[in-house]
């Protein structure tokens, strides 16, 4: 496993190849459907006026996201009533739902790492080449293990989206993942899709 400290340097990103296992250490933010839609509508496409604490949150997360990573995760969090937050379970969620937004969000905030599961499509792959960035596949369902690698919850934004959808700012140590889309246009997901399709056709013909 290759140890990496966040934020990523451009050099590190370019050195990563599809299939590389990595261990991440540093600060990242969780975000899924509600966050991506909010970012896109309010600050990128601007189809919606900022309201409430929108602008404040925007400024705060902007600083945190530069060069760092967004993690597609809806965690189980303990300590909600006392605000002594602790991640109890924190595996990745399916990333494709963010495909319509991810590329633009990466470019807008200069995000170099997208972590999730299941991989993403052509738009995100293009953004990985532009920014540059990588898609990192975490181990789906490994919720307790990943929660243990979250050493500290530094804060939370937009808790009104609900616990799974809120933006949790977390410090991680040795967060395990595999590079499945790199900055050179390669995608392990596209490879496996093509190979398995050919294998299926062979089986169906038999």
């Amino acid at each position: 496993m290759k140890p990496i400290t966040l934020p990523f340097t451009e050099e590190t990103i370019r050195s990563l190849q599809v299939g590389d296992p990595v261990a991440l250490t540093g600060v990242m933010i969780t975000g899924r459907d509600a966050m991506h839609k909010w970012m896109s509508d309010t600050f990128i496409k601007k189809t919606r006026q900022p309201q409430g604490d929108d602008l404040e949150v925007y400024e705060a997360i902007k600083k945190l996201l530069v060069g760092s990573a967004i993690y597609h995760c809806g965690p189980v969090v303990a300590g909600l009533d006392t605000k002594q937050y602790k991640f109890v379970a924190a595996g990745p969620t399916t990333s494709t739902r963010e495909e319509p937004y991810q590329g633009d969000v990466m470019k807008h905030f200069n995000i170099r790492g997208v972590i999730g599961k299941g991989g993403m499509g052509a738009k995100t792959s293009a953004a990985c080449q532009d920014v540059p960035g990588v898609y990192l596949h975490a181990i789906g369902g490994a919720a307790s293990l990943i929660a243990q690698r979250v050493t500290k919850v530094l804060g939370v934004y937009k808790l009104d989206f609900g616990v799974p959808e809120a933006m949790w700012v977390i410090e991680v140590k040795d967060f395990p993942a595999v590079v499945t889309m790199d900055a050179h246009g390669n995608s392990l997901h596209a490879d496996i899709e093509t190979k398995s399709k050919a294998a299926l056709e062979k089986l169906l013909a038999a």
Binding site: G19, T94, A142, S144, L188, L203
Partner: protein, 290 residues
């Protein structure tokens, strides 16, 4: 009538945090089969560490604690209405204790209820009155990622060349696995129903998933197909998490039903490796979990 709320909270905790041994055993075998040092083997290794950790610390195996599906088999004398109330209370309480993530979202207004209680169908509870004096409650936590890759086929399916027979069932089931890729957190378990209407099709495909991992189907034709499907699905090379590899499907469970002359549905429910299901048996004061 006995109040089972506390016992039900324990059932939920047990299900959410303690993966059944037969599932874990198959994952261990899969780890040995994958190439040394491959991303596939690394994924299973991480999964197994996670399983141990969750059991030890009593924390959810996966943060998506899914749709709680309860199958209640109750003898005469119990009130289904009161049991339902107790189950709902237990679900809300287990959510407070972080054994479950708040997962009930109003589909119209996009609002999470915060306590896992939604409308009448969330959690999903099914009652069946049985003979004897034992009450059993089976619980499955069915994750969203794997639920999304489930599929229902109406046969014949010309594109896949699938007719209305077991050969056709084989074809569409393999198609479903290929389409799912790693998205349902492979390696998965296939629950397949043949026949029924669209609604019962999905329900029965999930009922099939309650079976033990390594049992045989009582119907020899279906037993043969189950083993064949598992083997052929693994030839697709999708592998754990879709990283490529030898283990895509751990087991296949099939159930046949009756159908309308006009319809022939094949329904595939995909269960992720986090195949969380448990059973509680109540007999007088004695309560047993397995």
């Amino acid at each position: 009538m006995q109040d089972l709320t506390e016992a039900l909270i324990e059932l939920i905790r047990f299900t959410s945090t303690n993966l059944p041994n037969d599932v874990e055993k198959m994952l261990r075998e899969a780890r040995e089969k994958e190439d040394k040092g491959s991303a596939a083997q690394g994924a299973i290794e991480t999964i197994l560490q996670n399983v141990e950790l969750s059991r030890k610390n009593s924390t959810p195996i996966c943060q998506d604690t899914g749709t709680p599906i309860f199958l209640v088999h109750y003898p005469e004398g119990w009130s289904a209405r009161k049991l339902k109330e107790q189950i709902r209370n237990a679900v809300a309480e287990a959510t407070k204790k972080s054994y479950l993530r708040p997962n009930a979202v109003d589909a119209i207004y996009d609002k999470n209820s915060g306590n896992n209680l939604g409308d009448d169908n969330f959690p999903s509870i099914h009652f069946d009155e049985v003979e004897g004096d034992e009450l059993t409650v089976e619980l499955m936590l069915k994750g969203g990622g794997c639920e999304n890759v489930g599929a229902q086929y109406s046969l014949p399916n010309n594109q896949l060349g699938a007719g209305r027979d077991l050969k056709g069932v084989r074809k569409v089931a393999l198609d479903a696995v290929q389409k799912a890729q790693g998205q349902g957190c492979a390696p998965g378990i296939l629950g397949i129903s043949i026949g029924g209407d669209r609604g019962t099709g999905y329900f029965v495909s999930k009922e099939a998933l309650f079976r033990p991992m390594e049992d045989d189907n009582a119907n020899p034709d279906l037993d043969k197909l189950e083993k064949q499907l598992t083997e052929e699905a693994n030839q697709l090379g999708i592998g754990p998490m879709g990283f490529g590899g030898k283990t895509t499907v751990l087991a296949t469970k099939i159930k046949g039903m009756h159908r309308l002359p006009a319809s022939f549905f094949v329904t595939v429910s995909y269960m992720c490796w986090a195949n969380r299901h448990r059973k509680m048996t109540v007999r007088g004061e004695e309560i047993k979990y397995e």
